[in-house]
Structure formats: C-alpha cells, structure tokens
C-alpha cells in the first residue's frame, strides 16, 4: 500500500488554503515544500492538490501522459476566458492538432522579428528625448500588437486598435483562483471578464466578416484555419471556434511576454553592470548597421542570459497543475483519480540545490561551465516535457527583438524606490503592480547613429 502524503498545516474550513493561494501564493508553495518535503497535500475549496517538489518528482509530473494527468480540468479559471471548443475544452487530439501552429514554425519565425521591431518603433515614435513611462501600460500595449501581428497576421493587427488593451486586461484580471469554488461566481472581476470576452468575439467577428465579404485572401492564421477542410469538404473550424483559438493564442503570448519585458528592464536598471554589458553587446552586434533580423536574434548571449535570469526570478506563471485521470504514483506515494497534482515553478526556480545563491540576480549562472539550467526539469519557467511552452522560442525571439531596439535608442533608470516594484499575485495571471514607472532618455548621437 502507499504511504500517506504529508498534509500542509493551516487552511480554513471549506476553502482550505485557497485564500492563502490568492494572497501569498509563492509563500504558500514554498511553505508546503519546507514543511512537507518532496510531496505535500493542500486543499483548494473542494479540491485536493498534491504538490511535487524537486527535479525527480517534477520529472515524473512532466513525463506523465495526458491520459494519466489531464491539463484541461486543472484550470477552471481559464475555461470562461477561452470559451467552448478551445484549448482546455478540446480533446487531447484536437489540442495536439491546434498546437502544431504554423506561425510558431521556424520558417515563419524569420518574418516575425522584423514585425516586432516595427511595432516597437511605432510605440516609441512619440517618446521624444526624455520622459517616463509606466511599464505595465507600455508593454501590455506593445505585446498586444506584436503577438497579434506575429501569431495571427499583420493585416489583422492593422484592424485592431488600443481597445484590445483593456479587453485583455479584463480577461487576465478575470483569472481569480476563487474559480476553484466556481468560475461563474457573481464577482465584479468575473463579470468584467465575460463582458470583455463578448466584446472581443464581436470585434473579431466583424473583422472576419468584412474580410470574407471582400473576398480578400491573406496568408495568415485566420485564412489557414479557415482553409482546413473536413473529409467532406466543409470547413473544419467555424468563425466562433477560430475566435476562441485566437484568444487562447494571444492569451498565452501576451501577459507572459509583457510581464517578462517589464521585469527584465527593471532588473537591468537595478543592475547597471548588466545594463552596460547588454548595451555594449547590442551596440557591437548592430555596429554594421544591420537590421533586427532573425539570424541576429538567435545569438545574443548576454541579453539572453539576462532574460533567462528574469524568468527564473519572476516567472509569469508560478504554478502548473494537472487533474489525475488514472492513478499517479511517485516513489512510495500514489495519488488517486480526482485529485490534482501540481508543480511550483516559483519554488523550483529558487531551489538552492539547483541554483547557487538563488535569491541573487546573476545571469552568469547560465554561462558555459555553470549552466545551472542544464537539467530540463529544474529550471522550468516554460514548463517542461511534452507540454513545454510551444511559444518559448518565439517568446525569447520577441524579447530579444524588443530589447535590441529599446536599449539602443534609450537609456533607462528607475523612477521609484527599487523595492517599490513588485508583482501582483492576487490573480493566477501574475502582473506587475502599478505604479511601475521608469524614466528614459535618448542616447547620445554616436550611439543612436549606430542604432
């Protein structure tokens, strides 16, 4: 028989540890590791969540097949955002099909780099010589445009306006963990979420209909998806389902990149030695007047290590979960169907067994010789295994393109006390808490000429 799984102390009747998860999720997940060790059980309303810690336990989690550990049922807060027939509401086979998204293929990626640089140029066109900017507002808007242009299509992006920014903010703010009680509770954040989704569906459908009526053919994701036929010749996906797919794609690529961009810029401002290193690296790379091209973006080691270190310390997702569909065992423990199992990205990314001096911002930990991300199941900002983020390469390319431009044009410094910048963990989608302003100043002419 299996050994009893240690239970985490605390928690209140009915809701268990749910309120603590909403208030201080990183602390809760660390406390579970400290108290229980490799495996520990906590309660989220009516759900039991078994947390797995350490590389070996995490590897077991990431290697389990979908039939055993189901992703769909573990994220009730996402279902009202994506809608029916999409991502977590689709069968594993449908999901697999949809995920083989061509816009993330290597060939397509080459075109995205230029588009991202162009969007960044547009966003900073009105900046002038000096000023200040709120990082959440700036990067949330920029990444709406870059994600929609790259993942969906540039024509599509031109039909969008800034209205998408508050819509996505409401969708993202609608990911309250209270959804474990019921994702349709009459809460203001859930009402806003549903209103935002309805508005987005209407906006996208308008775009689709205008396009279909005009008979325009554009080789973008919409056209590709519309072109997929059933064996009888009818279209496989209706406009409604495609709308849902767009939301899921944009959702996956938006808040994650936006938050990571903000934290990367903040960490660079907090660590002038790294700011100097990265700026010099970029100046040298682009010294010959080359454009921000895909090839150039593949190898920017110092910047890449800064981004990886940012993702280690400030992962945009902190907790990954699955619902147990068939009995799941790890060492002497087994978890029966109906329970959930989870892995804490936040805890693993600061595991002292994997990272020397884990609280310190030190991008050199990824340099050849140290390579503290060597094992694929310990450094997990993008998850791991078969469900590792399909957009990881795209995200890194996008971040490199954005910073290639920003850091060559402007210098940045904090506009607030360094400790005042922090993440807001009250929703499952982590965002930078506002205010989060930085000051910028156009770089001297010599550097700008190179840029």
């Amino acid at each position: 028989m299996s050994t009893a799984i240690p239970r985490l102390s605390g928690g209140v009747p009915l809701l268990g540890h749910l309120l603590e998860l909403r208030r201080r999720p990183t602390e809760l997940l660390q406390r579970c590791r400290d108290e229980c060790g490799e495996i520990g059980e906590l309660r989220l309303a009516g759900q039991t969540l078994v947390m797995l810690y350490g590389e070996a336990a995490q590897e077991a989690f990431f290697r389990a097949p979908d039939e055993q550990l189901d992703q769909a049922a573990a994220y009730p807060f996402m279902k009202p955002v994506f809608g029916p027939g999409v991502v977590f509401d689709a069968t594993p086979e449908q999901r697999k099909q949809a995920l083989r998204n061509r816009s993330l293929r290597d060939q397509a990626m080459r075109g995205h780099a230029e588009g991202i640089a162009r969007e960044t140029e547009r966003m900073i066109a009105g900046w002038g010589d000096a000023g200040s900017v709120d990082l959440l507002d700036f990067f949330a808007e920029l990444t709406i445009y870059t994600s929609s242009a790259a993942l969906i299509g540039s024509e599509f992006r031109e039909e969008l306006d800034a209205e998408l920014v508050p819509i996505f903010r409401d969708l993202e703010r609608g990911t309250d963990a209270i959804a474990y009680v019921n994702p349709y509770l009459p809460l203001p954040s859930f009402r806003k979420r549903d209103r935002a989704r309805r508005r987005l569906v209407a906006l996208l459908q308008g775009i689709f209909e205008r396009r279909e009526a005009a008979g325009r053919k554009t080789q973008d994701l919409f056209q590709i998806l519309r072109g997929i036929r059933n064996p009888d010749g009818s279209p496989r996906y209706d406009v409604d389902t495609i709308t849902g797919m767009f939301i899921s794609l944009m959702f996956a690529g938006h808040h994650t990149t936006s938050t990571t961009s903000s934290w990367a810029l903040l960490e660079l401002c907090r660590h002038p030695d790294w700011m100097k290193r990265v700026t010099e690296e970029l100046d040298a790379l682009y010294a010959d007047g080359r454009d921000v091209s895909y090839q150039a973006l593949r190898e920017i080691p110092q910047l890449e290590n800064v981004l990886k270190e940012t993702l280690r310390l400030h992962p945009p997702l902190i907790l990954l979960m699955r619902k147990v569909a068939q009995p799941f065992s790890y060492k002497e423990w087994s978890v029966e169907p109906g329970k959930m199992v989870g892995v804490s990205i936040a805890t693993s990314n600061r595991d002292p067994a994997l990272f020397r001096d884990p609280e310190r911002f030190d991008p050199s930990r990824f340099e050849p010789g140290r390579e503290e991300d060597r094992s694929g199941f310990g450094y997990i900002p993008f998850g791991a295994g078969r469900h590792r983020c399909v957009g990881a390469a795209f995200a890194m390319m996008q971040l490199k393109a954005i910073f290639s431009l920003l850091l060559r044009r402007y210098e940045f410094e904090l506009a607030q006390p360094p400790a005042s910048y922090h993440s807001d963990h009250s929703k499952m989608v982590v965002q930078l808490a506002q205010p989060c302003r930085v000051r910028y100043r156009r770089r001297a002419a010599s550097a700008a000429a190179a840029a």
């Binding site: 290697r63 697999k96 995920l99 083989r100 993330l104 293929r105 290597d106 060939q107 694929g376 791991a384 295994g385 078969r386 590792r388 983020c389 399909v390 990881a392 390469a393």
Partner: protein, 65 residues
C-alpha cells in the same frame, strides 16, 4: 556524435527537421521525429546542435559515443 531522442517528449513540432533536414524528418502520421542519421558526420555538427537547442520540448540530446 550520436543523436538520442526521448520519444516521451517529442510532439513532432519539426524544428529539428528544418534545422538539419539531412538528419531529422517528421512522420506526419505519428507526429514524431524520425532520425535519418543517428551518427551524423562532423560537418553537420553546428546544425545538429541547433536542432537540439531549439527543440521546443527538449526531446533531443547529443552524445559523443
């Protein structure tokens, strides 16, 4: 060098096949990688290393056996 595939992890994204088509292909029916040359020549090292590096699910490894 020798190419090792972890088929538990491979989802058939095909990045390896575009990095090093001499060494990798994707079986569309299975959506899994097919290794065409398990011990590729040294001349292909840079491209095989890129395939390993850019694999979305980290399903590839290189050994020096």
């Amino acid at each position: 060098m020798k190419v090792v595939v972890d088929l538990d992890l491979c989802q058939g994204h095909g990045v390896c096949a575009s990095e090093a088509p001499e060494v990798f292909a994707v079986d569309p029916a299975e959506s899994r990688v097919v290794v065409l040359d398990e011990s590729p020549p040294e001349a292909l090292r840079t491209r095989v290393e890129a395939a390993v590096r850019y694999c979305p699910t980290r399903a590839l490894r290189l050994t020096e056996a």
